[in-house]
């Protein structure tokens, strides 16, 4: 697949942007005037902080400014990493559609490693019951039904290759945050 996203080159940040990230990556202060607080620490005006925020939003450096609930505490106790073997020609278009489903929290194209791993589209789904995540998997399958690859044409292969699967997590083995270091 030729895709320049493969090279994750590090985009340059201005010193102000870097300072803004360092100050807010653990969260926005929950006080009456949060941007004034940031402005004080950056020694710039609140108007400049708001302009910088909007600019970083527009350029996608900030995805959004929002609350991220702990899905377990809201009763969304079940998650499934659904994985799909999607026709390469169609993968970008259909991946985009899968990402827009409201129950999908992450959606990526990743490389296959044949014959061990034939899935190239990953979508994480969250639900309150095992039935819910099964249903969501079904909805994604319906969306992708025309573009799933069928690989059962090699009779020498003992293993049948599925077009999709769902891996549920049974244990958290380690979890730490991702942070800008300097």
């Amino acid at each position: 697949m030729s895709d320049n996203n493969i090279n994750q080159e590090k985009p340059a940040l201005t010193p102000l942007e870097r300072q803004y990230i360092l100050l807010t990556q653990n969260g926005l202060p929950i006080i009456e005037k949060p941007y004034h607080h940031i402005a004080e620490q950056m020694a710039i005006s609140v108007e400049q902080v708001l302009a910088l925020t909007n600019d970083m939003l527009t350029r996608g450096i900030i995805r959004r400014i929002a609350a991220v609930p702990n899905h377990y505490k809201l009763g969304y106790q079940y998650n499934g990493m659904t994985v799909w073997d999607v026709d390469d020609e169609q993968a970008e278009k259909f991946g985009d559609a899968v990402g827009r489903l409201p129950f999908v929290s992450h959606c990526y194209l990743r490389p296959r490693h044949l014959p061990h791993w034939n899935y190239n589209l990953f979508a994480m789904v969250h639900g309150k019951t095992p039935q819910a995540i099964d249903k969501y998997r079904g909805q994604i399958k319906e969306l992708l039904k025309e573009v799933l690859v069928s690989r059962n044409n090699d009779s020498s292969q003992q293993i049948t290759t599925q077009s999709n699967d769902m891996l549920t997590s049974t244990e958290i083995l380690k979890k730490t945050g991702l942070r800008l270091k300097r």
Partner: protein, 165 residues
């Protein structure tokens, strides 16, 4: 096997939080985003027929009780610097505890989950420099004697996740 050396080994089992009507409205509204203005909580309060002080109080409590795992700007990970990949191992059941310890011992392992598949261990490797990813993968292979399935992202799609309460 000494479990104390495993960084974190909590089973997935969490209590569901009890939430007030205002908490639920805040969670539903703020998943979509916070307005960018001088007094965003006042604006939210107006939308919900509440007061700025009450909104702030409830949000603080939601953050402290970790019903909200984050509140604020969400940065594209690429701009936070460093490199990431998702990788997996197919670990024989009898070796699972040992391999967990071996993999988690690398500081570059950010998340690690046990999952239902022949590839039953899935982890995120996060490094400062891109070329360090490959070194960590080789070191994990050497330490565990297993081959790593490396699935770095080729493309990330926008997600519209919304968890209504």
């Amino acid at each position: 096997m000494d479990n104390a050396t495993i960084t974190k080994n909590e089973k997935i089992c969490h209590e569901v939080a009890e939430l007030s009507a205002l908490d639920k409205s805040l969670i539903n509204l703020l998943q979509h985003g916070l307005p960018v203005c001088e007094r965003p909580f006042e604006q939210i309060a107006n939308e919900l027929g509440s007061s700025e002080a009450e909104v702030i109080q409830h949000l603080k409590e939601l953050k402290e009780s970790r019903v909200l795992s984050r509140f604020g700007p969400m940065f594209d990970a690429v701009y936070l610097g460093g490199a990431f990949t998702l990788a997996a191992l197919a670990v024989p059941d009898e070796d699972f505890a040992k391999v967990t310890e071996q993999v988690n011992s690398f500081e570059q392992i950010a998340h690690n989950y046990r999952r239902t598949h022949r590839f039953n261990m899935w982890f995120v490797i996060a490094t400062e420099e891109a070329d360090e990813i490959e070194k960590v993968i080789l070191a994990i292979e050497e330490k565990t004697g297993l081959s790593v399935l490396n699935t770095p992202k080729l493309k990330e799609f926008y997600v519209g996740l919304y968890l209504p309460v």
